[in-house]
Symmetry: C2
Subunit: 397 residues, 2 copies
Amino acid sequence: MISVDEAVERITRAFAPLPSERVPLESAAGRVLAADVTGRFDHPPAPMSAMDGYAVRASDAQRGATLAVIGDAPAGRPFAGSLEQGQAVRIFTGGVVPNGADAVVIQEDTLSIDGGVIVREAPSAGENIRRQGLDFRSGETLLQRGRRLTARDLALLAAADFADAEVTRKPCVALFATGDELSRPGAPRKGGGIVASSIYAIGSLVRSWGGDSRDLGILPDRPEAFATLPETTRGADLVITLGGASVGEHDLVQSALGPHGFVLDFWKIAMRPGKPLIFGRLRETPLMGFPGNPVSAMVCAILFLVPALCAMLGTPYSAPVAKARLASSLKANGKRQDYIRAKLSTRDGALFAEPFTLQDSSMQKVFAAADGLIVRAVDAPAVNAGDPVDVLLLDRF
Amino acid sequence: MISVDEAVERITRAFAPLPSERVPLESAAGRVLAADVTGRFDHPPAPMSAMDGYAVRASDAQRGATLAVIGDAPAGRPFAGSLEQGQAVRIFTGGVVPNGADAVVIQEDTLSIDGGVIVREAPSAGENIRRQGLDFRSGETLLQRGRRLTARDLALLAAADFADAEVTRKPCVALFATGDELSRPGAPRKGGGIVASSIYAIGSLVRSWGGDSRDLGILPDRPEAFATLPETTRGADLVITLGGASVGEHDLVQSALGPHGFVLDFWKIAMRPGKPLIFGRLRETPLMGFPGNPVSAMVCAILFLVPALCAMLGTPYSAPVAKARLASSLKANGKRQDYIRAKLSTRDGALFAEPFTLQDSSMQKVFAAADGLIVRAVDAPAVNAGDPVDVLLLDRF
């Protein structure tokens, strides 16, 4: 058995960023930038008014001065001429400040008269003007490679006149479940009556973290069923098996895949739930074998699949772990790192974690209701209510 | 001017949950449940083995006892008969515990002999058995109406044999920008050279919060251009205008839409950035008019559009606000609630917020780089480094 940290490290090291592609801004949200984005012009491209009012020369615009209004400069229609002494140009928010002007008097501080304007509050030089390049400069790095694009980033890219973005290709993850006991939801249930469920959760996790999922369905527990896999998984960047990873004689992923080019890197991780994780390669393609138990499979996906996706996307990842206070006591831990399902709450600004009474890894309702996983290190001593613990936050999963 | 809280309240009250639709599990992630989901059978449907080993009668299985192995019960193939005194059935994780058995001895605690098994550690009654209904019971509420479905929820729904979910229809949000100065990214830039950017950010925000966006493009600053809107916005649940919301004579949304059936509810909110927000109805359809400034527009969208989307989806919403310590001082605030762009960091488990030096609302690079908005209430006094402040977290936006 290897530790969780070592497994994460070995898995992450096995993946490199995928090639890039250009996508239009409309579909770039959540995608990962494959290259730095650099400004190609100053923004704003010229000095702009921040307010509605009058563009003036500050040296002219003393309190009580009357200025001749020689034109206007709404947003999008710059004033063509130049502003001389004693003159003003009516200007609007986003309008280009005319040549010769160095301040904007806001409308509320003026009195409009026929053909002119009286200044009621003198502006200082530069007032209410957004200087050229205030937002960003030509040649400046706007967004860095590896960034997962937010809604605000899309606005910045558009403002910088980019209609598309160079992003890492989506990792394609092929998924299949094994197990004679499994049926699809809505299909007739088999002996034991268990419905395949992990494939939906893990497919969804892949998509929400920026990958594409390919659902290869349920394979029966017979080695012959695996013969088509090198074909059906072609083009996938990662293959995931669900079930058939543990010790028993009905656990066949390793033995069934061997003849098709599977080479094991490691299996068995000192963790609970989820010990029997397989990692290796099916010919050229990395393969993760997750436990059949849906809670175990999902914990493995959170711990190992998400970092692998991020490595393929070329974006940094660190598990979302917060400090919390324990709401009840926990026994000393054994030789496996434990992930205890818990409800989180906030009291007086502090985070509290209340473990569920029952922690059996077959309990999907408890897992769905959990807000976090209390992380218990190997051989961690007993802890009491009020003690600090690390919690893996589940709201992104 | 009305307060931010009053505006949120009036806006949220104007929306009700939309009708529901059924979607397959594969596309149900992030959707909002329109009805409670109730279990239709016990899960597991029968007592199941939690381990690989032997199903036995605990009263028989004393340490050193030899039991006759009369069959096996792998997952998916229940043992057909019943277990009598002195007998055992080979069983695997997820296998149905045979009638007559009340415990499972794990494989490691047994010694296999020809036709039988020697017990090396006596189990107690119930050991290693997941009782029928341990996960959930028939008739039990599994997930509640209004819940935004997570990956784990999908696994629970599948386990409960649901192939699809009854979710609220996606709100359709029609968006358009106004402004003669605006061009699309990649298109020839106009006078002033400003590229439309809010429409991409707000469209992305709509989609990431569970809506569909309809991009109606850029309208010129002429009332005639608005004549087609009742037609192009047909079927939308909400119309959003970007720009043309403020006071100046070139701001025309209110006047241009009046003849087409626009009725104002309120406008102007005591906030910065984003004061000139319009809220009303275009005939039957709610309409929000956001400022043309992209940062102001996006702050308005975060504060007012996201709660409106959640109201249409029938899911609760509260703004993600955390307590942080201020990393530098801030002046006393005026008559508008201020949203100050800040970088967040964690030191010794505490959250720190460092305001950007420049806060001009035209600065999109700063806004994209911000992790949070420090919320400064109307008339808030000056605060110093180390003082506690409320921060609206931006990582979901």
